[in-house]
Symmetry: C2
Subunit: 436 residues, 2 copies
């Protein structure tokens, strides 16, 4: 099975765990035997358990590449969108990537799926069948239709021609109001979960026809010139040879704190104490200090290096405008080489903790307007300063005046307290020199 | 006026702003023109505005001395109890301190008052009159009796002989149940706020009689051998020549989050956003990241480097056992020279931010089992390492191997990132050598 997972942009509706650079699919909230996994890790694990040979490609923005490799390792394919251009260009690019970069033959089928549904393994069994159905060539597109459990106003609807497991599509309906949704459901309508399968050749041909490009690299290079247009609008709604396959298993969209906490196995993640008078309270605490909750009802508490949310669960879906007002610098980020966390902010200094995974290193870089000091607090590594390499370990101090090219590669897990000094400290003050 | 302020021990009922080393009277929650002041700062300011020449002595434990000088400056008198021995030894020691150290004559009067009442200036006007009344010698002890506003079960009661402003005391009553409190109030009873005035000679004589000591220093040296006994039990309840002066102004005891938040001028302190659906919500946020509250009712949120409390206001008075269960190292402390804050905790390292006030320095000290690195991020100072002095400024790095005697004195406000390295990092690993 070839699967393209669409990994959407940043979102603030799960602040403070999601923000401009950290998307909800990377939040680790699902209990595993030895810790927690994120939505993207859960989905990836589920796909691999249903089909160990599945080729998984994640279509996403540059900002997410580090987090993806950090959470899924280096084996997963990533189709990087140079900028955001809606779903048709994104799917065209990922399909070209599969064909031109990964060498998947044109007559193989591929299935496109959002990266963040909360589902059981049966969902991916269904996706496998969807892919197989696309291979038969009976239709150009085969959609997954989810059997509605209530007249939701949040989803689009698919009206099938019959109640068969695989049916022709009669029509598509935009997100309706609840009353209209009830009417659709009475007619046998299914939710459109944004999942569909096709043969590579189908989308490649459509893309060549609508965009005009030679190959993946050409499409990639011209990506910022493409028109923003959705796959639904550009392709799905115009395709006469289209089928829907019904799915009746569990399917949830964990887009708000209210729905997300429903999927938690335990009421708390991280250090937290709830007294007996708490009812329907969930705590997600990423800080290394405790949260105590007393006498709360229907409340979610979430604490991260970015901030603290305390919200009535129903109200939590209205958080976005309040988060938009906050002008908070990024306090924590996952990188391909590990992570960093801001420890202290002063007008002319910034202190951060850098953690590098074994074998990983930063880009070789320099800063124009700040000096840096590294205090190695754990592990061993190799530091390069202006071309000179040096082994470092606990207690070593590395001073880098502005302009010094520098990098460090971890031999074992390496932890560094980095002190940045200067009057214009900015993440944009960085000159990269490629891997040293 | 001579006034002894009793500054009680640590408390956990206002966690995470109070803890083992930080008492509630030092939390800065009262709005002033240019920031916030603490209970002890507010009371000190009020005393000085009512009587600019007042001699203020704070009777307290060693643990609070740094915070007192940090918040009130060096002019305030401090009578340090070498250990906790209840109120009679504490008041005897402070009285001996006033007489033997500060040179206050025996026939002057002194008033004893808790450090943390939430009151108006009229309270301190009344205290001044209390002091004057004690000077007349009509009685050996003159108590303040607060006119009850409701039948409280939290206070002891004083039954006066008449309704006069100054009356003889008929009897004392322990904390009653609400029904008994109503009966007391019907008889004209007053709350016992723990405020009383006497001539120095009176308590000095009682102390010599009950304890037997030569002078302040002798009493101080033998303090740990003294019996724990309250001033009420040892003195007040046995004294026949005793009067009560009534006070009818505002008087509050801000001992729980519920009562404390009632005294706040604004619903939030620190970075906080409340949506319109919040009602009766207070936020006290000491962290440098925002708190967002959505749709909460009757809730207090308090965040500090020690942890986060989210509590129904009524429930907040039951917090203590939950805080007792937490084994959290101290993350922030005020010192006589400034403050420190823990930024990062690892198994074999600790990173803290040290802020020194101009002109102040640490004790000259060394550690047996840890190395330290100082990264100066702001200001100028003088570092002493094994007797050698050196000027330091922004960007300087000072390395101290275990055993190195070291200290630093701030010339301007000095901020340092201190990295501690070792396998047995402990606050007890410290050898002091006195001021260098």
């Amino acid at each position: 099975m070839n699967i393209i997972l669409l990994s959407g942009g940043s979102g603030k509706r799960l602040w403070p765990l999601s923000n401009d650079i950290r998307s909800k699919q990377f939040i680790k909230i699902f209990r595993t035997d030895d810790g927690y996994e994120s939505m993207v890790q859960r989905v990836y694990r589920q796909i691999k358990s249903v089909d160990p040979n599945a080729t998984v490609t994640i279509a996403t923005s540059k900002a997410q590449v580090s987090a993806i490799h950090n959470q899924l390792g280096e084996d997963v394919g990533v189709s990087v969108e140079p900028c955001r251009r809606d779903t048709f260009p994104a799917i065209a690019l990922a399909t070209a990537y599969l064909h031109d970069v990964m060498g998947v033959p044109e007559d193989e089928s591929v299935v496109v799926c959002p990266v963040d549904p909360y589902v059981g393994d049966d969902y991916f069994e269904a996706i496998k069948r969807l892919c197989e159905q696309a291979s038969t060539g009976e239709a150009n597109l085969v959609l997954m239709g989810i059997e509605p459990t209530y007249p939701s106003e949040k989803y689009g609807y698919i009206i099938p021609a019959s109640g068969a497991e695989i049916a022709e599509v009669n029509s598509f309906k935009e997100k309706p109001d609840a009353k209209t949704a009830e009417e659709y459901i009475a007619k046998g309508a299914l939710w459109n979960g944004g999942v569909f399968a096709y043969k590579l050749s189908y989308v490649l041909n459509k893309a060549h026809e609508l965009i005009g490009f030679t190959d993946y690299q050409d499409l990639f290079n011209r990506y910022d010139t493409l028109e923003k247009i959705s796959f639904d609008y550009a392709v799905v709604e115009k395709e006469p040879k289209i089928q829907v396959m019904r799915f009746s298993g569990e399917w949830k969209d964990l887009g708000t704190w209210n729905t997300l906490t429903e999927a938690m196995d335990e009421p708390t993640i991280g250090e937290a104490v709830l007294n007996d008078n708490c009812e329907n309270v969930h705590v997600l605490n990423e800080l290394n200090v405790p949260v105590i909750c007393m006498g709360l009802h229907d409340v979610v508490v979430s604490a991260s290096p970015e901030g603290i949310l305390v919200s009535d669960k129903e109200q939590s879906s209205y958080i976005k405008p309040y988060v938009d007002k906050i002008d908070q610098q990024v306090m924590f980020a996952e990188k391909s080489w590990g992570s960093f966390r801001v420890l202290d902010v002063e007008e002319n200094s910034l202190t951060i903790k850098v953690t590098l995974n074994p074998g990983h290193g930063m880009y070789y870089h320099s800063h124009m307007r700040r000096d840096e000091i590294w205090n190695v607090i754990e592990g061993e590594g190799i530091v390069t300063l202006d071309g000179k390499k040096r082994e470092v370990g606990v207690g070593d101090i590395i001073e880098m005046k502005a302009g010094t090219r520098h990098t460090v590669t971890a031999v074992t897990e390496l932890k560094i307290i980095e002190v940045q000094l200067g009057s214009e400290i900015s993440v944009h003050d960085k000159q990269k020199f490629g891997r040293e």
